[in-house]
Assembly symmetry: C2
Homo-oligomer: 254 residues x 2
């Protein structure tokens, strides 16, 4: 098994950010600067075409660390964040750009490509989680959350379905195709984000994926607005969701 | 115009509770015990068959006062909380109980009766708001919110549609019949609560009422569970919603 190898470290606003690798996979870990108390871990999956330190990811990580004292880890998806692309990656990305230029629906290509990426990413996430739990400030006993929208949901749903260490998750902004059957196996608490006026994902599709989760506790947050207009207060809501389910108090109200 | 006449006063957990009347209408006002600083006002409408000091109402009032320093006011709906019932009230309540005993749908009776009650309650709310704004600790300039589910939505939607003093509202748990056309006139920020497995209100009905609001900022919170199983964290979410829109910081995280 691979271990976490730290490659860089910075600190700002009470948060320590450490780049790491686990084998060939690149990642980042955010932790409270105040000390190395053992604390729950939240895994964050980024969206398609972005990377582990996309501004939205860094912002969410800071809210989770400063709001609840969590550790927050993310890894670059295959072909993302400087990780090498396969010929298949290049073909699918070209197909997506062609569809966009032609004004054709992106959905069928994104659904198919994300399902492919999830097959590669799920074992990478499991190896990263194994390695992260070897760190003394995380440990193997603490609860683990998962937070990922868009492609982060396409990867997070199959990961969560087979990974009993994940005990609460925030998902959203994805089509039900290829995911709904897997979501039916998931029973942990879920918060699910969708956009009421999403120009890519129909209401019916978004609601169908939320409906599929077998979780007794699940909450849908649907906001007026288009695909990329998820309000920033949903990140604060996710902090409170993880605080409830991973057993930490919110110390910094937002 | 009637003024607010206070009839009783108690205090607990940092919250002062004062019973009042405005003309024939009975109400309650909760305020911070710490002082008489001018602060925004949140109006709360209770559900059908309950009253101004139903435990859920008192709980929400305390969260709003201690979380943000708001003033919170409610009035008994016509025929509720000891206010006299008309012959028509008695007939409708009897019809509702008959439907329940027979296992028939409550919706058609509740929709019709709530619409009738709203016609009587809206002018009462406006008179109460006029009188409350005469109090020095509230004043006429501050923002006003409205928070009401079930019958509180049936009354709150027509009230909000004609009442420009209300600038943010939490609604939910109601059928769209008789309300959707009015909701289309409402453009203020809305948080809307529905239950995903509501045994009285179908998903399609609940979503249709949310959809009807013309608000640019509106958020749907749909939770797994039956009609009466709205999770308590939705009350905390409402506190944060009003904090965002009525311009107060959340001082007591929940």
């Amino acid at each position: 098994m691979h271990s976490v190898d730290f490659t860089a470290k910075t600190s700002s606003d009470g948060v320590v950010e450490r780049d790491f690798t686990v084998g060939e996979v690149t990642g980042a870990l955010w932790s409270p600067a105040s000390g190395a108390d053992r604390a729950p871990l939240v895994l964050m999956g980024h969206g398609g075409g972005t990377h582990k330190k996309w501004p939205g990811m860094v912002g969410r990580a800071h809210r989770l660390v400063t709001g609840c004292g969590f550790h927050v880890a993310t890894i670059d998806a295959p072909g993302h964040g400087g990780r090498p692309r396969t010929e298949h990656d290049e073909q699918e990305i070209a197909a997506l750009y062609r569809a966009r230029s032609a004004g054709e629906p992106e959905g069928p290509i994104v659904v198919r490509y994300n399902a492919h990426l999830a097959e590669r990413a799920v074992p990478e996430w499991q190896a990263a989680l194994d390695a992260l739990q070897e760190l003394p400030e995380i440990g193997a006993e603490g609860p683990v959350g998962y937070f990922g929208l868009n492609m982060g949901t396409a990867i997070g749903v199959p990961l969560t379905a087979i990974e009993p260490r994940i005990t609460a998750a925030v998902f959203g902004l994805h089509w039900p195709d290829r995911l709904a059957e897997t979501a039916k196996q998931i029973t942990i608490p879920i918060e699910f984000v969708l956009q009421w006026d999403d120009e890519h994902i129909s209401r019916q599709s978004g609601l169908a994926l939320f409906d599929a989760f077998a979780s007794k506790e699940k909450t849908l947050h649907a906001n007026a607005g288009r695909h990329k207009e998820v309000p920033r207060f949903e990140a604060d809501s996710a902090v409170r969701f993880f605080a409830r389910h991973l057993g930490r108090a919110v110390t910094s109200p937002a």
